[in-house]
Amino acid sequence: MELHFLPTEEQAMLRDSVRRWAAGRDVRAAGDQQVDWAYGAEQGWLMAGLPEEAGGLGGSDADSAVIAEELGRALVRTGFVESGMVAAQLLLAIAPERAEEIAMGGVQPVLAHDEPGMRACYLNVTTRAENVEGGWKLSGRKSAIVGTPTSLVVSARMPDAAVGLFEISAEDAPLRSYETFDGRTGGELTLEATPAELLLVGKPAESALLEAIDRALVLESAEALGAMEAAFDMTRDYLMTRKQYGQLIGEFQALRHRIADMFIELEQARSILVIGLGGLAGSNPQERARLAAATRARVAQAGQFVCGQAIQLHGGIGVTDEYPVGHFFKRITAFAARHGGEARQVERFAELS
């Protein structure tokens, strides 16, 4: 497995351009997700990781990770990773003829795979597909959907127990949207014999699905890394500004050691992301899944520590809605809770070892 520890020149440029765009944003608010989406599509963020022949920019998941990290730094709420990088890539692999529409942002797909209590037992799909008069109808419940999709890629169990992937357009989908505690848009889908288009079935569907999940695990980790970097930077600055007892709080050794520990964790997260990306670039699905699980677990652990301590070192101001740092903590808390939690990902790592 080849690993890339240093950003390429193109990635450095890409990073700069996303960072410039995000620099003026208020991290406490979601902003206009439609506007963001259109901008990102125009910039090619949705296609950064795709080969040129598929309408992409000829990059890799590592390029997507650079974008995701910067989006996380700015706490962008729009589902670029979930829709643009994960679901769109899945859809494209299945329906390459739709490349242009997808690349232009004309469709904003999202993967509706999780079910309540699935807890990253990813093949434990209980939503059922029935063939009724030549068409497919799905019944079941899908949870933890992120963003405001125009199209849902839904996994379901076929009559023969194989996995199937279906598409339902958002207007036909009984999607119940809600605000998440970290200020994003979430959704649940309650399917009751809901008509759906079959995209792919059997082993190819399962493979495509598992690859999309591993991509989500890793690229969401990149986003989380960005969020924790921002919380870290903010805390470091605060230690060099805030005074108590007549001195900068950054002069207290206990707080100095804490920021050192935060940095150590941040560096571990940064490093394991390289491993996770190496897995995505590799050709062994089990190894990819194992490394994605490790990445997710380690980044979630580091993130909870870094962002939790970022609040702690800020003191009172850190627990207010008005100050940014708590918003990073909420994003990381939600990140850590999803996909079964870090402990479940450690279990997956052990199972796959």
Partner: protein, 398 residues
């Protein structure tokens, strides 16, 4: 675990609660949202009628006169049953200062109104530049005849928006050490010149406030004790409430709730999360830690009653350990919820009239909100870093 014995008393408390506490109030409290003022008023009045409102006060001031052990049992039963908590600043902080230091007029006027729930109190200590370093406070009180003219700002004032009075540390002199020159004033929150600005917490709730004082006139009669001696009284107050800051009942409630969350069918694949040995053992680990923490509280209580080991830094230990356990349990509860933790569950909607198509799961209501709110637990009341300073200072004094 009934670590404190006295099962008869415990049964009496249970019976009282069962008879008096409305079930909607109990469920509202158990979900862990911030106190709902009408509930607190209702319950304080009920307790007062029974003579159980001021459980930590001496009998002569209308308190129960109970041993610390009994108070702990009472607190625990109330917490687990979902009784609304009485206004803590009034009963645990300013009340004891008024009966210990206040004059007769102050005792006669304020104490009954606290007991009955007529007066809710806020605490005006912290300022924007006086957090951990509280003695650096700058709100000025200048004496003019029989009044002080107060100017300045307080911050992190819990529940000021529905309190009636605030007790403040104010600077009455700039001479000498910064701890000297501080006085302790009782201020009517309806007095002209006071402005309250809400501070919304990361959990989305409104508990905290900024309180601005602009030429607020406070009668000298509302000063506690001597002028410039306020720091001494405040220290007394901050050290007194060992049991309160140990958050034992809250941690026990959260452990029980976490176990319930993890015991839902289908909480892990087609099984239950609690049947995952790794999860079960991490929860057991916290239960053991909680058991040791509770026993530490009980031991401190016993030592206090016996008047031994008074110079041990145990109040700080109880605060550090309790608040850190609370945060660990909260994180485990969220892990147990998994995806169900993600929706933002706004208080009013879900509690009073949850919609039929509500997303998420009722098991999750209030868990994340409570977890987020309690990030502050390791910060307020003397940040845990300050508590560790205190512990070390006591251990390492020559």
């Amino acid at each position: 675990m009934g670590a404190l014995g006295d099962e008869e008393f415990r049964a009496e408390v249970r019976a009282f609660i069962a008879a008096e506490l409305p079930s909607d109030m109990a469920s509202r409290t158990l979900l862990g949202y911030h106190p709902h003022k009408p509930d607190v008023e209702f319950w304080t009045a009920k307790l007062d009628k029974r003579g159980w409102a001021a459980l930590n006060w001496p009998v002569e001031y209308g308190g129960t006169g109970w041993s610390i052990t009994k108070r702990h049992i009472f607190d625990e039963e109330c917490y687990l049953a979902g009784c609304p908590a009485v206004n803590p600043q009034a009963f645990h902080l300013v009340g004891p200062i008024i009966y210990a230091i206040g004059n007769e007029a102050q005792k006669n006027f304020f104490l009954p109104k606290i007991r009955s729930g007529e007066h809710f109190w806020a605490q005006g200590f912290s300022e924007p530049n006086a957090g951990s370093d509280l003695a650096a406070l700058q709100t000025r009180a200048v004496r003019e005849d029989d009044e002080y003219i107060v100017n300045g700002q307080k911050i992190w004032t819990s529940e000021a928006q529905y309190c009636d009075w605030v007790f403040c540390l104010v600077r009455t002199s700039t001479e000498g050490r910064k701890q000297a020159g501080i006085s302790f004033l009782l201020v009517d929150l309806k007095a002209p010149g006071i402005t309250i600005r809400p501070i919304i917490g990361i959990e989305g709730g409104h508990v905290l406030n900024e309180v601005f004082f602009e030429d607020v006139r406070v009668p000298v009669a509302n000063r506690i004790g001597e002028e410039n001696e306020g720091w001494t009284y405040a220290k007394q107050l901050l050290g007194a409430e060992r049991t309160f800051s140990a958050v034992v009942p809250r941690c026990k409630g959260l452990a029980v709730r976490t176990r319930a969350i993890a015991s839902r069918d289908g909480s892990k694949g087609r099984g239950k999360l609690i049947d995952d040995p790794h999860f079960a053992r991490r929860l057991a680990q916290l239960e053991i830690e909680l058991m040791a923490h509770e026993a530490t509280l009980a031991r401190v209580v016993a030592e206090e009653e016996a008047g031994v080991n008074q110079h041990s830094p145990t109040p700080s230990i109880l605060k550090v350990k309790g608040t850190e356990l609370l945060q660990k349990l909260g994180a485990l509860a969220i892990e147990a919820l998994g995806d169900s933790a993600i929706p933002d569950y706004p208080e009013a909607d879900y509690l009073l009239d949850p919609p039929n198509d509500a997303p998420g799961a009722p098991a999750a209501y209030g868990v994340v909100s409570d977890f987020l709110y309690h990030r502050s637990a390791t910060i307020y009341g003397g940040a845990n870093e300050v508590q560790r300073n205190i512990i070390a200072a006591q251990l390492l004094r020559a």
